[in-house]
């Protein structure tokens, strides 16, 4: 660049003359600052004169650096004066005079072990409060659902149908595709390993039991948590951010009744239906692979399936579905209502919604496995 910046320094006895030159602007601030710091080291001057005649341009950055020098010399006990001050420069420097730099540094954060402990503590408190909030939300939804039983005509059917379409109907293709693939993969792996000791046909048992009891409902719930749970959180969170939820409250409407209950009901209907469809699709995928890859004819597959599974297996899977739906819905709505003002909070709450929902779904699945095993089903 053709522009050069300089700070000419001349010292005579106790008199220090500082002459800034060139463009003291934002663009060149990185060059000017070291000059200013160097000049500040001239200690012991009684009088400091700033000669501004060499300045070509000055903006807030340059003016601040001049002001910084003036303050440094001022606190060191020197008299300061200006030569060649124009109205423009004066106005700029005047604007900066009252600036208080004491608060300019951000407050120090705790570091090292103290910080680690603080983070752990905060995480524990957060976890406890989120459990309380989840239970609170569940209670809220149950109470609202209970009161609705006494006046069913106020139930928001249109809204429920709308959500049912989004979380149920529109999820069908992707759920069918994914469960089909999972069923096919399980069958392929089963055939590959079982046929080594001549038990290839038992793959039908494995596919049937696994899909109907566990995989069907789990895959569907994980997909619903990622697909619909995140959407619920983001929607409610945005509404919270834009004060739409407060608006509802002030109109005497309960956000749980208007926004959350229809979403919950939609999930409670959609997840069992999707689980059924997903299980069928996985069985179909498994059967197809068994036929094409394992040479098990469809008739054999079907008759084997009939022997291997009972209606219990099917019911076990389907019984779990509404509970999983409840967990996903409660977590998603709760996280949505916890969103604060910032975009970052919306993002982290949505992440938390999906992660917590999937975690809880898997934990619930484990609990169900224990319960059913104890019952001998």
């Amino acid at each position: 660049m053709a522009h050069t910046v300089a700070l000419h320094t001349a010292k005579a006895g106790g008199r220090l003359q500082l002459a800034p030159a060139g463009s003291w602007t934002a663009e060149y601030a990185h060059l000017v600052e070291p000059l200013v710091d160097a000049a500040a080291r001239h200690a012991g001057a009684d009088e400091v004169v700033f000669d501004l005649r060499g300045l070509e341009r000055l903006d807030t950055f340059g003016a601040w650096l001049i002001e910084r020098m003036e303050r440094a010399f001022g606190t060191a006990g020197a008299r300061t004066s200006f030569v060649g001050m124009t109205d423009d420069y004066q106005a700029l420097i005047d604007e900066l005079r009252p600036v208080e730099t004491k608060a300019a540094r951000p407050p120090a954060r705790p570091s090292g072990p103290a910080r680690a402990l603080a983070l752990i503590g905060a995480a524990m408190v957060e976890m406890a409060s989120s459990v309380v909030m989840l239970v609170n939300m569940l209670g809220n939804v149950v109470v609202v659902a209970g009161t609705l039983l006494t006046r069913p005509q106020t139930f928001r059917l249109t809204s429920t149908i709308h959500h049912l379409e989004r979380v149920g109907w529109r999820a069908v293709p992707i759920v069918l595709l994914i469960t089909f693939l999972i069923g096919a993969i399980i069958a392929q792996q089963g055939i590959f390993h079982f046929s080594r000791f001549g038990a290839g046909v038992f793959v039908v048992d494995m596919v049937g039991v696994l899909v109907l009891r566990e995989i069907g409902v789990l895959i569907v719930c994980i997909m619903v948590a990622g697909r619909s749970g995140s959407a619920y959180t983001a929607e409610l969170g945005t509404m919270k951010m834009r004060e739409e939820i407060d608006a509802l409250r002030t109109m005497g409407l309960d956000p749980v009744e208007v926004l959350i209950l229809p979403r919950m009901v939609a999930l409670l209907i959609a997840v069992p239906v999707l689980t059924f469809l997903g299980s069928m699709s996985a069985l179909y995928g498994g059967g197809l692979v068994a036929w094409l890859y394992g040479g098990i004819a469809p008739e054999v597959f079907l008759s084997r399936l009939k022997e291997a599974i009972s209606i219990d297996h099917f019911l076990v899977g389907l019984t779990k579905a509404p509970f999983m739906a409840l967990v996903i819905g409660i977590v998603a709505c709760n996280e949505g209502m916890r969103v604060q003002g910032s975009a970052q909070s919306l993002g982290s709450q949505t992440t938390a919604s999906v992660v917590k929902a999937i975690f809880l779904v898997i934990v619930m699945d484990g609990v169900f496995a224990i319960v059913f095993a104890t019952l001998g089903i």
Binding site: D59, T60, L92, D94, A103, R105, Q340, S342
Partner: protein, 265 residues
């Protein structure tokens, strides 16, 4: 204002902007002179913000030519465009502060991106800019969601001014502020404009702002700019929309106030 030939910092020619079948702006010509405050008025939905966004390049235009600081914005490289962009600051209607950053980080954001200066200087300049817009240093560590509407506008203005731009675009700076805050804000814009030598392009509805701050006013109606000139010319106009705007129920105080030129000694 002087009658000497003035430096044009924004030159818009034959601007046509539309969305789908609707034409919002039809064949607009507009000049903004160096060092002036241009107030841009028009009915709600007339396309004032659209023109502002077209000039700063957020809305594509169908036809026309825009020159900012003598750079043709239709035929620039990315690097040249950035060079121009760092010489303007924009205050959006809602402030558009980055909600995940603190006030300090918001104001420092452009400096961090464009300048290679020390943390210390950045901190000091951030506090200085906040002081310039009338905010105490203790707002530095707050997040935007903790601020009131007026403070958000001020912080957004401080961010717009972070790099000492030559042009500032203000989209309804006083909308949503109480009359006292709005008055303060007008005064602030005036002071900053004078000390920093800014050119201000301001979309506004506020008649008081137009009267006290703006050197020139441009009026947008029927997809065209129907007039541009000082307040006295606006008041003298016979155009029906302008008559109802400048002589309407809410404009009763206009004649009684000193005009913008007088207010600035």
């Amino acid at each position: 204002m002087t009658d000497a030939p003035q430096d044009i910092v924004i030159r818009a020619r034959n601007i046509v902007v539309g969305f789908g079948d609707t034409v919002i702006l039809n064949d607009i010509d507009l000049d903004v002179y160096r060092g002036e405050v241009l107030g841009f008025v028009g009915g709600s939905g007339a396309g004032k913000s659209v023109l502002l966004r077209t000039i700063i390049g957020l809305v594509p235009r169908r036809r026309g030519r825009i020159e900012v600081l003598d750079v043709d914005m239709g035929a620039v490289s990315v690097a040249e465009r950035r060079e121009v962009e760092r010489r303007w600051g924009v205050l959006f209607q809602q402030g558009a502060l980055f909600s995940s950053l603190t006030v300090r980080e918001n104001v420092q954001f452009p400096m961090r991106e464009y300048l290679d200066i020390s943390e210390r200087l950045m901190d000091e300049i951030a506090v200085a800019k906040l002081a310039m817009v009338g905010l105490p240093p203790d707002v530095c560590e707050k997040s935007p969601s903790q601020l009131s509407g007026g403070m958000v506008k001020r912080v957004a203005l401080a961010r717009a001014l972070a790099l000492d731009p030559q042009i500032v675009f203000l989209d309804e700076p006083t909308a949503g502020l109480d009359p006292i805050s709005a008055g303060d804000f007008d005064q602030l814009i005036r002071t900053l404009q004078q000390t920093l030598g800014l050119t201000v392009f301001m979309v506004t509805h506020d008649l008081d702002t137009l009267n006290t701050v703006c050197d020139r006013i441009a009026v947008l109606a029927d997809r065209k700019i129907i007039a541009a000139g000082p307040m006295s010319a606006m008041l003298a106009s016979e155009h029906p929309w302008m008559r109802s705007y400048f002589h309407g129920e809410r404009a009763h105080s206009l004649g009684k106030r000193p005009a913008a030129g007088d207010a600035r000694k």
